[in-house]
């Protein structure tokens, strides 16, 4: 009886440790589609836009590439829609789970500083931009796996010391193939 309890406890302990381990890049690879809303204001955020997005995460040599296309529509006027596409390529660093954009540079010299890290279930990308007049903003994309084929996206933009915009989307894996 005591042995079975001990074995059960050990099994639970091993399982909890396995769950707490960081995800690998391969678990994020695929084509994801989803929808959600953007809000403005930090204290009492107000929904301002609906967002539809496709994200493609693929393996490249020594790292990975993220490409995303987002259509933003004003909630007040659905006919006003904007489409924006972006992509970033990251290479791994000496630190496990930490990656740096291949084009990352010194923000005080006009370059964007971009890095990514995987902690737990989340792949987080941060980008710092400092304008010529000293104004700054940090954009964060936090993509968290809730299962093997579902992902939550939290987008945050901080501008000159205040949270300017956030967006939350629910994403579903459309295909593991990225071709």
């Amino acid at each position: 009886m005591r042995l079975s309890i001990a074995l059960g406890f050990a099994a639970a302990l091993v399982a909890s440790v396995a769950q707490a381990a960081d995800r690998k890049v391969d678990e994020f690879v695929g084509r994801w589609i989803g929808t959600g809303q953007a809000t403005e204001g930090a204290g009492s955020p107000v929904a301002t836009q609906s967002r539809d997005s496709e994200v493609v995460i693929e393996r490249v040599a020594d790292g990975f590439k993220v490409s995303w296309t987002t259509m933003s529509s004003d909630l007040d006027d659905g006919s006003k829609a904007k489409v924006k596409a972006s992509s970033l390529t990251f290479k791994k660093t000496k630190t496990p789970g930490l990656f740096v954009d291949v084009k990352s540079g010194d923000p005080l010299k006009g370059k964007k500083s971009t890095w990514a890290r995987i902690t737990g279930d989340a792949l987080t990308i941060n980008q710092l931009v400092v304008a010529a007049d000293g104004q700054w903003d940090v954009t964060t994309y936090e993509r968290t796996l809730s299962s093997s084929d579902r992902m939550k996206l939290l987008f945050t933009r901080i501008k000159n010391g205040a949270v300017a915009r956030q967006a939350r989307l629910e994403m579903q894996l459309a295909s593991r193939s990225t071709r």
């Binding site: 710092l128 000293g134 940090v138």
Partner: protein, 183 residues
């Protein structure tokens, strides 16, 4: 006719307020003393937040390369009653001018081991903003943003600290300018 038009133009120009020009760094030189408190952040209710009082001294003076040095000290009381134990901290930063008007860069070399360690200052209108961004070796990042705005009596200061996209601390201070010359 030309005299009438010239007079009209001058009259209009005097009547329209001039757009606020940015201050120069020398406008901020001096010693300032005052107090303020922490602001509630996140989802913490006002009733749950102890708005800790802070006393602060700020000294801004000129430095090499058309720059400036800022020294600020903060005293936080541990209890509401006086006398009380207190935590005190003092920071000093020196900035040099860059090629861009009213933009300055910290002269301190980046801390080794950090992915990013950047600090700069900029003047917009009546406000001197100082921003520090640090990215740790594990990818966590921190931003400290100080806005110090000149007022009739001295300076209004606002401090915000972010850790990984979350506001973790916000402080507002009201400071009076002292008569002492600092240069």
């Amino acid at each position: 006719m030309i005299r009438v038009l010239t007079g009209l133009v001058l009259a209009v120009a005097m009547a329209v307020p001039a757009a606020a020009a940015d201050r120069k760094i020398k406008d901020f030189f001096g010693a300032y003393l005052g107090h303020g408190s922490e602001e509630p952040v996140g989802t913490t209710g006002a009733s749950e937040t102890h708005r800790q009082t802070r006393f602060s001294q700020v000294i801004i003076k000129s430095a090499a390369d058309n720059g400036f040095t800022i020294e600020w000290s903060t005293l936080k009381l541990k209890d509401d009653d006086i006398p009380s134990e207190a935590d005190t901290k003092t920071h000093v930063e020196t900035f040099r001018a860059t090629g861009k008007p009213n933009v300055f860069q910290d002269v301190t070399p980046p801390e080794p081991g950090l992915i990013q360690d950047t600090s700069w200052a900029v003047i917009n209108g009546d406000t001197l903003s100082i921003v520090k961004v640090a990215v740790a070796a594990d990818g966590n990042y921190f931003v400290s943003h100080y806005d110090r705005t000149l007022s009739k009596e001295g300076m209004e200061a606002r401090f915000t600290r972010f850790e990984n996209s979350h506001v973790v601390r916000a402080v507002k201070l009201h400071l009076l300018k002292g008569p002492a010359e600092v240069n």
